[in-house]
């Protein structure tokens, strides 16, 4: 119960940080708040039993992203600020609000957070022997690794990880191409 309460509090914090990121007029403030948002997300992930994701979000989302964003505004200009917040764009709010409300109609049909009677666990769906169940039961005997996330990442779905490594490689190449540099600067 206490965990749920913490999760709700975190959810509210995350929401406020996101809105502040959108509304802060000063880009530097927005970046800092966005970093706080990423950290809030990372903590929420640990409460949702995803320590691997939490560490990645903290290292990459809050760490590397923030550094790159800061570097970018250091390399470019930071517009002078006369107001603390942006003026709210009413038509955009209406469009986005309608979009969110339409999505909200999906909520009743989504499975409750944390329920075990959902198709991914082989209930109420068509499949009974789902990958999720298989991984938890067989990770250690199949691969000898205890962290099921690592096993899925490196072995069962190693090709995804291959693609992921290629994405990172492609990003390095792309940045060099965009900035017109021939060597790894």
């Amino acid at each position: 119960m206490i965990e749920t309460a913490v999760a709700y509090t975190l959810a509210i914090f995350i929401l406020l940080a996101a809105v502040a990121t959108a509304l802060f007029r000063d880009v530097l403030s927005a970046i800092v708040v966005f970093g706080a948002y990423s950290l809030g997300m990372a903590i929420l992930y640990t409460f949702l039993l995803a320590p691997d994701v939490a560490m990645t979000e903290a290292a990459i989302g809050a760490g590397v992203t923030t550094i790159l964003l800061l570097l970018t505004i250091a390399r470019t200009t930071r517009p002078s600020t006369d107001r603390l917040f942006e003026r709210i764009n009413v038509p955009a709010v209406i469009v986005v609000g309608a979009f969110v409300l339409v999505l909200g109609t999906l909520l009743p049909d989504m499975y409750a957070v944390g329920t075990e009677s959902a198709p991914i666990w082989g209930e109420q769906g068509v499949l009974t022997e789902t990958p999720s169940l298989y991984y938890i039961e067989n990770t250690f005997s199949d691969t000898g690794a205890q962290n099921a996330v690592s096993a899925v990442l490196a072995s069962y779905r190693g090709f995804d990880t291959f693609g992921e490594a290629v994405v990172v490689f492609a990003a390095a190449i792309a940045v060099l191409l965009v900035l017109k540099r021939e060597v790894f600067t």
Binding site: P51, D52, M55, T56, A59, I60, G63, V64, I67, L68, L71, T72, A74, R75, D142, T143, G144, A145, Q146, N147, V149, S150, A151, L153, A154, S155, G158, F159, T161, F162, E164, A165, V166, V168, F169, A171, A172, V175, L176, V178, L179, K180, R181, E182, V183, F184, T185
Partner: protein, 174 residues
């Protein structure tokens, strides 16, 4: 093919004694932590993505503390290029090796069957030898390339080049 080695962005860091000292103390720990995460991902949370990122960020910390130019001089382009190309090569070579042994792409059991090495080590090979190197190298590349910024080498003739859109004039400076 050499790019001009001038970085005009010394304003991105401040030479504070506090930062210098703390980075000197923290850097070995973050580096160790990054390596620990990379090597130990199979049994505990964390893995080579996080580890590689933290190793890369360590270099970024040094850059923030000592300035980007001096750090660039320690970390050579060929070193970074080697990290990334080496990582990609090790990753793919592992996959091709398992195929050469008669398995499928990345089927570590083929190595296990032939050499008696546990499945586990195949995973370690691509995580530590592949992903960690690539991520660490890429984080450094992204940072240094963005820090160096875009220096147009053309002669300030935008209407002309906007229309041409072909043939980047690389290597005109040498």
């Amino acid at each position: 093919m050499s790019q001009p080695d001038s970085y005009t962005n010394s304003d991105t860091y401040s030479e504070s004694q506090v930062i210098l000292t703390s980075v000197r103390i923290i850097a070995p720990f973050t580096l160790t932590y990054g390596m620990f995460l990379s090597l130990h991902g199979a049994d505990t949370p964390g893995g080579s993505f996080q580890g590689g990122a933290i190793i890369g960020v360590t270099v970024l910390m040094l850059a923030f503390a000592f300035g980007i130019d001096p750090t660039r001089k320690w970390v050579k382009s060929s070193f970074i290029a080697g990290l990334i190309t080496g990582g990609v090569t090790i990753f793919i070579a592992t996959g091709l090796f398992t195929m050469a042994l008669g398995g499928n792409f990345l089927e570590y059991d083929a190595i296990a069957d032939t050499f008696g090495i546990a499945h586990y080590w195949g995973m370690e090979a691509i995580e530590v030898g592949g992903v960690a190197l690539i991520v660490a190298g890429a984080v450094m590349t992204l940072f240094f390339a963005t820090a160096a910024g875009f220096t147009p080498e053309r002669h300030g003739n935008d209407t002309d080049s906007a229309r041409s859109g072909s043939g980047p004039e690389v290597g005109r400076d040498d």
